[in-house]
Symmetry: C2
Subunit: 413 residues, 2 copies
C-alpha cells in the first residue's frame, strides 16, 4: 500500500468522458489499496475563457478578482470527479484551497504555497476516502482565493505530496513520459524509465516541455518522486508506465548521456571590435541585465593584435531586438559592430553519468565534425554539454548524437 | 444617503456587456452617495450547464459536490462585476458565501440561511467600498459550500438586506415591475407603484411570476422593502422606477383592488354521490394530503334528499391523474362517481382595500354575469376573491374585471 498524489491536467479532464476515465484510473489505484489524493485542473479551454472574460472587462484587472474568477474552473472539475468516484462506490470529497486550507502568500496570480494542513485529509484517508483537490489555488491570510500562476496545478500536486509524505506524485498528462529526444525528429527515441531531478531540469529548460521547471525544483527540494505518465494509456501510475524523476542515488543504472535536448528560439549576438580594456564586458551585459534579458552562453575572442575583442552571446530570440537597441545606444561601445544571427539552435547532451566519463564532449565534437556541422559556441556544465549550430542542421545533428551516445539501445545491466 | 442591496439575476448579467451595464447602474448609485451591496446570479445558461454536467456524471449525485460545482457560476460573475466597478474608479470587492461568512444549514441544494456576519462588509462600506456578493450560496458548519435552491439569489439579497438593515432591496430583473394584470391580455394594464407584501404574495402565487414567494415572505417577516425593477431600462433603483413591495401602513393610497391575477394550470375534480355521514370529507382529502397534493378550493353540496353530497375541489393540473387514482382506490368512497375538468382557470381580484369595501365581490359577480360567464367555484379571503371559470372565457373575464375595478385609471388622491 502506498500513498499517492495524482495530478490530472486540462486535456486529461477535458470533458465528462475524460473525467470518467480519470475516475476509472483512480478507482483502480484505490482497489489496489492505495491512499489517493487527486489534484485536478480546469476542463480544457475553461481557464482560457475565464482569463479572456477578465481581460474583456478590464485589461488592468485586480489580481484578487482575477483569481476569484479563474479559480472557479478547478472547483467544477473537483466536484465532478468526486461525483464520478462516488458513482463507482468509492468514498470521495472535493477540497477547495480554502477548505484544506492550503495557505499561500498574497501575491495574487502567482502566489506561493506557505502551509498545507493535511490533518483532516489524512484522517479521511484512514476511512478510505479519496481527496479530490482543486489545483492551482490556495487561500491567503486575508481569506481571499489566490492562484499559483498558469500550470500551477503541478505545483499544488508536488507541494501536497511533500506535505502528505506521499510515496509518489504521478503527473498524468497527454504524453507518456520523457524521451531521450523529440520522437518527431528521431524515430528511435526511447522513453526514459528513470531520470534524476538535475537531468530533468536541464531537459525541461532546454525544451522537453513535459514538466514545469518550478514543480521539478520543488520536488527536488522536498524529496518527492515524480512520475510523468499519460492519462490516455491503459496503465495506471502504480504500474510505473511513465518516466520517474527521482534522486540520483535511487537510479541504479546510470547512462552517461540520458537525453538530447534542443531549443529553437535562440538568437546569437556578436559585438565586434570592443576595446580590450578591463570592465568592458560589464558594459555589454549590465544594460541587458537591467532589462531582464537573460544571457545564456558567452564567448570572448581577442584579436591577433590584442587591442580589441569580439564578444558573442546567446539570448532568447524575443529579446534580440531590444538587446541590439541597448547595445547601439551604449556610448562606451562606440566603434563596435553588432551582428545578430537568428537562424541558430542550441543542442544539449544531458546526463548524470557525464562527470565520470570524460569522453562525452569528445564524442559530441567528433560526431558533429563528421557530419560537417560547425559549432559556433560551446558550453559545458557538470551534467550537460551545449553547442550552438546553424538551424538547418538541427535534425541531422540530433539524430547523429542520439546514435552516437547509444540512446536508442536498451539499458545495459 | 441610503444603504441599498441590489440583486441582478441571470438575464441582467447574461454576458460581459450586460455586466458592464450593471456596473454603470451601481456606479450611478454610488455617485449619488449610497452604500451598495450587490448580489449577482450566474451568467445566463451557466447554472443550467453546470447542473447538466452533474446529472451527466451521475443522476444520483452527492448534493455537497453538486453545490460545489453549481455555485461556481456566481463566483465568476461576482469577480467580473468587481473588476468592472474598479474600472470605473469605484472601490469594490467580491464576497463568496464562505468569505462573508453567510452560514447556512447543511441541507445541500436547498439550504437555509442561518446567520450572516456583516461586520467586515459594513466596515468597508464606511470606506466607500462596494460589496459584490455571489448569490445563491452559503457555507455550512462543516465548511462546505451549500446552495439555497434555484432562484436563491433573491433570498440571498433579502437576507443580506435584513442583516445590513438596508433601506431597500432592489431586485433587478427583465420586467419593469408588477402590473395590475398581464399586459399581454389587457393592453391598459398599469404598473403598480406600491403594493403590500400580502398582495404581492397573492399575486405571486397566483401567477404573476416576478418575485419568488419565499423571498417575499422573508422580506415581509424581516421588514425589508423590496423593489422590482428592470435592468434593461435607464433609471436606477433610487429613482424608484419599479414596483415597491412594502408594509401596508407605508402605502398611503390604497386601491380597493390592486390587481387581477389568474392561473391556468388548475384542474377541478368533483366526487358525486358521497354518503353524507360524518368524516367522509376527511376520507376524500386524507389520501391527497398524504401524497403532498395541495387542495386549493372546496365546495360541498348536499343532495335534495340529504343522503349524499357532491364534493368539488381545485388542485394543480399536474396532480389531477394521481388524485383521481387515489379516489378510485378508496373503498370508503365506493359508489361515488368522479369527474375531472381541466379546461378551467382561476381568476382572482387582489387588494388590501377590499376588507373595508363590501361591494368588491358584488362587482365581480355582476361583471361576470353581464358577460354570461358562469362561476363554478368561489372563494374569498381578507384580500382576494377567486373564481373558477371555463378556460375559454379567461381573456374576456380578465379584461372585464380590470375595467370594472377601474385598474386602468390613475390613482385617486
Amino acid at each position: 500500500m502506498a500513498r499517492i498524489v495524482a495530478k490530472f491536467g486540462g486535456t486529461s479532464v477535458a470533458d465528462i468522458e475524460r473525467i470518467e476515465n480519470v475516475a476509472d484510473k483512480v478507482a483502480r489505484e484505490v482497489e489496489a489499496g492505495h491512499e489517493m489524493a487527486v489534484v485536478v485542473s480546469a476542463m480544457s479551454g475553461v481557464t482560457n475563457k475565464l482569463v479572456q472574460y477578465c481581460a474583456e472587462v478590464s485589461p488592468l484587472y485586480d489580481a484578487r478578482e482575477y483569481d476569484t474568477v479563474v479559480s472557479s474552473g478547478e472547483q467544477v472539475t473537483a466536484g465532478l470527479l468526486a461525483i464520478a468516484l462516488q458513482k463507482r462506490g468509492i468514498s470521495a470529497r472535493s477540497w477547495m484551497g480554502w477548505q484544506i486550507p492550503m495557505k499561500t502568500s498574497d501575491i495574487h496570480g502567482k502566489a506561493r504555497i506557505e502551509d498545507i494542513n493535511t490533518k483532516e485529509m489524512e484522517k479521511r484517508f484512514a476511512e478510505q476516502e479519496v481527496a479530490v483537490i482543486a489545483g492551482f489555488q490556495g487561500v491567503t491570510r486575508r481569506k481571499r482565493i489566490a492562484t499559483l500562476g498558469r500550470g500551477g496545478s503541478d505545483t499544488t500536486a508536488v507541494a501536497l505530496a511533500a506535505a502528505l509524505k506521499a510515496n509518489r506524485c504521478d503527473i498524468y498528462t497527454d504524453v507518456d513520459g520523457v524521451y531521450t529526444t523529440d520522437p518527431r525528429i528521431v524515430k528511435k527515441a526511447r522513453k526514459i524509465k528513470k531520470i534524476s531531478y538535475d537531468e530533468m531540469l536541464e531537459l525541461a529548460s532546454l525544451g522537453a516541455k513535459v514538466l514545469q521547471t518550478r514543480s521539478v525544483e520543488m520536488a527536488y527540494k522536498r524529496d518527492v518522486s515524480l512520475q510523468v505518465l499519460s492519462s490516455f494509456e491503459e496503465r495506471v501510475g502504480s504500474e510505473l508506465p511513465g518516466t520517474l524523476v527521482t534522486k540520483e542515488e535511487d537510479i541504479m543504472e546510470k547512462h552517461v548521456v540520458n537525453g538530447i535536448a534542443f531549443t529553437k528560439d535562440e538568437a546569437k549576438i556578436t559585438v565586434f571590435n570592443v576595446p580590450d580594456i578591463p570592465g568592458v564586458a560589464a558594459e555589454v551585459f549590465r544594460p541587458l541585465a537591467k532589462n531582464n534579458i537573460n544571457v545564456d552562453m558567452i564567448v570572448q575572442n581577442t584579436s591577433s593584435d590584442g587591442k580589441v575583442v569580439d564578444i558573442t552571446f546567446i539570448i532568447s530570440e524575443k529579446d534580440a531586438d531590444t538587446a541590439v537597441e541597448l547595445l547601439e545606444k551604449n556610448k562606451k561601445l562606440k566603434g563596435a559592430k553588432i551582428r545578430t544571427a537568428k537562424d541558430i539552435v542550441k543542442i544539449s547532451a544531458v546526463g548524470i553519468g557525464m562527470t565520470s566519463h570524460p569522453g562525452v564532449a569528445q564524442t559530441m565534437f567528433k560526431t558533429l565534425a563528421e557530419k560537417g556541422i560547425n559549432m559556433q559556441v560551446i558550453a559545458t556544465s557538470e551534467i550537460k554539454i551545449s553547442v550552438i549550430i546553424d538551424k538547418e542542421y538541427l535534425e541531422l545533428a540530433v539524430r547523429a548524437l542520439h546514435d552516437a551516445y547509444g540512446l536508442d539501445k536498451k539499458k545495459k545491466k
